[in-house]
């Protein structure tokens, strides 16, 4: 067992393991250090995958409960066994994390279980999970240590009553009333899970709308749809404290602006979903002289290199969207750069998806951003109520909105609320990535009957020539 590697990657999340595989494919010797006990990072263990498994199951439950009557299916009494639900979720997670272990092995990546510390430029010390220590010498080091839950001052997460996303992914029973602090992606997804399974859900959001970074029209429609599903929103409000009694919690909520009356919300579970922060604890960055930003991120140049030569960083621990596919793309790019090729990530074409029902997906610029930049644009919108496949699938909530340059017709941004928005955004991402025009989409034959036809109609609507509207 050699301790010399071309690349040592610290962290086995989507950023780290993809970097490892790609580097190995390019012929480099690679070690991947991970302390969690399983590979896949936040994403596979306590993020994207378990949340999507619960969203899928809770959606089926919800459907069985309410959704069938109108076309002649009666379901009678429907129950949910949370233990079984969690077991099936864990099975999915395990099959995927095992899968990553298999991929590392197949690509001859040395998977080292333990906590890595940068001992000096070119060397990584690993406190092995089995005990003992191993010193690795590394021509290149990639920091891919990801992120952890951000907390609020004075609110201590105990993962029993006061939860982070991780706790909310493994509750043992359905809370009666769940208060979600933060109306962002994670809060709304997990809020949806428990709302469908029977909880009353109240979301407290500091800004004047949920998902504040999204296109305004989209987030407005989205809020309306969630309200219809039973969500309660307290906007422009902040949580100042949570009081615990034996059986319940009392959440103190105040208007975001100074002044105004505080109010107490009684509940039995609180989910703190106010964001995530880079995780660099115990990495030895200070000692190694690696510069950080004032937001706690590892500072990198345009080629993922830190101020210390031979030390790179990618994923949630650096600037940019905290998304698994962004981390993966950076992982592949950094591996290519280290191997001597031209790795590259286009930050203007990174799509994002919220997996509620309906889903919300977007890529490129919002209407607000275009206005602020003074860009002349055309907006084309097409509702799913006018799409026949959506009708047949009883999924008519939402619309496709395309923003194109008024001069060149190039697609600048696209936003979708719709049952299958997550898959549909791929076509528009390809369009943004390749600088295609709305006309390019309009002149592409889209299969009937599919919901993708709404994408084409929205493209035509930028030129006021939609057919089915």
């Amino acid at each position: 067992m050699s301790d010399n590697f071309d690349v040592v990657i610290i962290g086995g999340g989507p950023g780290g393991y993809v970097a490892a595989i790609r580097a190995a494919q390019l012929g480099l010797t690679v070690a991947c250090v991970e302390m969690r006990g399983t590979l896949g990072g936040t994403c596979l263990n306590v993020g994207c995958i378990p949340s999507k498994a619960l969203l899928h199951a809770s959606e089926l439950f919800d459907e069985a409960n309410h959704g069938m009557g109108q076309f002649g299916i009666t379901t009678g009494k429907v129950t949910i066994d949370i233990t079984k639900l969690m077991t099936s979720k864990e099975e999915t997670v395990k099959s995927l994390t095992d899968g990553v272990a298999y991929l590392l092995k197949k690509n001859k990546v040395d998977y080292i279980e333990g906590r890595g510390t940068i001992a000096a430029q070119g060397s990584v010390k690993v406190a092995l999970s089995d005990g003992g220590e191993r010193m690795l010498s590394a021509r290149n080091i990639v920091i891919a240590t990801g992120s952890e839950v951000a907390s609020l001052p004075g609110i201590k997460i105990d993962e029993k009553q006061i939860l982070s996303s991780t706790g909310a992914l493994s509750l043992k029973k359905v809370p009666k009333h769940l208060v979600v602090i933060g109306g962002g992606v994670i809060g709304l997804e997990l809020g949806s899970v428990w709302q469908r399974l029977g909880a009353e859900v109240t979301v407290v959001e500091f800004m004047d709308r949920i998902t504040p970074e999204m296109d305004g029209e989209v987030s407005k429609t989205f809020a309306r749809i969630l309200k219809k599903q039973g969500f309660t929103f307290k906007l422009k409000s902040k949580v100042t404290g949570v009081k615990k009694t034996k059986t319940s919690l009392s959440v103190a909520v105040e208007p975001a602006a100074a002044g105004g009356d505080a109010e107490q919300i009684k509940c039995d579970a609180v989910l703190v979903a106010v964001g995530r922060k880079p995780y660099t604890q115990g990495l030895g960055l200070k000692e190694a002289g690696v510069k950080m930003t004032d937001r706690g991120q590892v500072e990198i140049d345009d080629h993922f290199q830190t101020n210390v030569k031979g030390i790179y960083a990618i994923g949630d621990v650096v600037r940019g969207a905290m998304l698994a596919h962004k981390a993966e793309d950076e992982g592949a790019a950094v591996a290519e750069i280290i191997a001597g090729f031209a790795g590259h990530v286009n930050y203007d074409a990174i799509p994002g998806v919220i997996y509620t029902m309906p889903e919300v997906a977007s890529v490129g610029k919002t209407e607000e951003a275009l206005k602020a930049a003074g860009t002349a644009y055309n907006a084309g919108k097409f509702p799913f109520t006018a799409n026949s496949r959506a009708k047949a699938n009883r999924q008519t909530d939402g619309f496709v909105k395309i923003l194109s340059c008024a001069v060149s017709d190039k697609i600048l941004g696209a936003h979708i609320i719709g049952a299958d928005a997550g898959n549909m955004i791929a076509e528009l991402t390809l369009a943004v990535e390749k600088g295609l025009t709305a006309e390019d989409i309009a002149y592409t034959c889209h299969a009937h009957p599919t919901e993708t036809e709404a994408v084409r109609e929205a493209a035509m609507a930028t030129d006021d020539r939609a057919i089915h509207m």
Binding site: Q25, Q70, F71, G76, I82, S88, P449, H468
Partner: protein, 460 residues
């Protein structure tokens, strides 16, 4: 009556042509003898997909009631009130039919109800409820569509159904035999299986879905097997008597099989008889109306679009042609030259084919590379219990330009938009691999298939 454009048939070809013509300010009349919406909206794509959706849900609920599933349990078996299912489906059809009429009106297209009969290439009589109307037009767009092919020894009627009747039954047949395992037969047969019918297929060819390769259809074949659907290949139906179908099996033996209903889905043929086509001096090709790349027929200012002009008989082809003809008449420079028209089978699992497979281009001497990515290795597919299938890309070996994209898997139909765009833009494998696909979505399998073709997929 006189007009600039006369459209015959208000299916997805005709009504789209008319709306586009109206948008462009052209004086347009559309004539429809049945209901606006055509085969597609009234007795084809839409009602079939509605039924498929309902059947899918019924099956899903049944699964919950048996062992319980993901912790979800139904106290009792779900019950199906099929009359209600059909009423729901009819409601959707009615709304779409009304919607098309409203769109035509909004585009200022004049709608005339009745069957058109041509006296010459530019003049027709329509028998309406208010008597005969004669219309003369500068341009005629023929969008008469198609109808189910009837076998002479299995005439439609009674318990012998075409796809149209199969979409409006009053109860779920206990035993359904389907002659013809093409996409229409399979879509409906699978839906009825899910609703509880005992289903058998009789197919003359050696495989189901004969236009697709075996790799692509294998998951559907497995579904059929797993759900006890018998498929008799190389078998020829020969007659129907006392609710039993007689057929010759692949070994040449005469067999009979009893059924409550017999669905015959052996193809579709163009509507070319009985409306005076012979008076229009329009050339034909293989039984269809012959058109050039502008959808123009051999007769000046007579155009034809959609199913009446041949394969692929798909709604989106008809619509694309309809738009194009309206634009050409309005003076725009267009030709019908799509790189790809996606074909989707809404079977279980679904199949998409866009462009060509390696086998199909072999004859042209093109060297190819193929990348395939199984949905088993896709996180989203696993969380949705929809991992049975794959995405496959075929590209030229020399310059990596993508020639074809095929996929099979539950709900993959919504991937077809990106597939079509990729072919239409002339994308190379690198273009797809270099585009960030959201995690976790099934679309990641597309990027991985491109990487696989390039020799460096990440997740396999």
């Amino acid at each position: 009556m006189k007009c600039k454009i006369l459209v015959i048939g208000a299916g997805p070809g005709g009504y789209v042509a008319a709306i586009r013509a109206g948008q462009l300010g052209l004086d347009t009349i559309i004539v429809e003898g049945d209901r606006a919406g055509g085969t597609c909206l009234i007795r084809g794509c839409i009602p079939s997909k509605a039924l498929i959706h309902a059947a899918d849900k019924f099956e899903q609920m049944s699964a919950h009631s048996e062992k319980g599933h993901l912790g979800i349990k139904l106290a009792a078996k779900p019950e199906l009130d099929f009359a209600e299912t059909i009423a729901w489906k009819d409601g959707i059809v009615d709304r779409l039919n009304g919607g098309v009429e409203a769109l035509l009106k909004k585009a200022k297209v004049k709608q005339i109800k009745g069957w058109a009969k041509f006296k010459d290439a530019k003049t027709c009589d329509v028998e309406t409820s208010d008597g005969i109307v004669t219309i003369t037009a500068e341009h005629v767009i023929l969008a008469n569509g198609s109808k189910a092919t009837e076998l002479p020894f299995l005439p439609f009627g009674g318990d012998i159904l075409s796809s149209a009747e199969a979409l409006s039954l009053t109860e779920v047949p206990e035993k359904l035999v389907v002659v013809g395992a093409g996409y229409i037969g399979l879509e409906l047969g699978i839906a009825y299986r899910k609703l509880g019918s005992d289903v058998t297929f009789i197919e003359a060819d050696e495989k189901i879905l004969s236009t697709y390769d075996k790799e692509l259809t294998a998951p559907v074949q497995q579904w059929l097997k797993k759900h006890d659907v018998a498929v008799h290949l190389g078998a020829r139906a020969s007659g129907w008597q006392d609710n039993a179908l007689s057929y010759t099996d692949k070994d040449g033996k005469e067999q009979t099989i009893a059924a409550d209903k017999l669905l015959v889905t052996v193809g579709r043929q163009p509507n070319i008889d009985g409306w005076g086509l012979e008076n229009m001096a329009v050339d034909m090709a293989n039984g269809f109306i012959k058109i050039d790349k502008y959808c123009h027929t051999s007769m000046k200012n007579v155009w034809a679009i959609g199913d009446v002009t041949g394969e692929p008989m798909l709604a989106h082809r008809a619509s694309a042609q309809g738009e194009l003809v309206a634009e050409i008449i309005a003076g725009k420079k267009r030709e019908f030259n799509p790189q790809a028209i996606a074909a989707v089978c809404f079977t279980d699992p679904e199949i998409i084919a866009v462009g060509k497979s390696a086998d199909e281009v072999k004859a042209d001497g093109i060297e190819t590379i193929v990348g395939k990515f199984p949905l088993m290795a896709n996180g989203r597919a696993l969380t949705m219990e929809a991992a049975d299938g794959f995405v496959r890309i075929t590209a030229r070996a020399d310059n990596h330009v993508i020639l074809g994209i095929h996929a099979v898997g539950p709900h993959v139909s919504e991937l077809s938009g990106e597939f079509a765009l990729a072919l239409e833009m002339g994308a190379r494998l690198e273009d797809i691999a270099g585009t960030i696909h959201v995690h976790p979505t099934v679309t990641e399998a597309f990027a991985e298939a491109a990487l696989a073709a390039l020799g460096h997929a990440i997740h396999i």
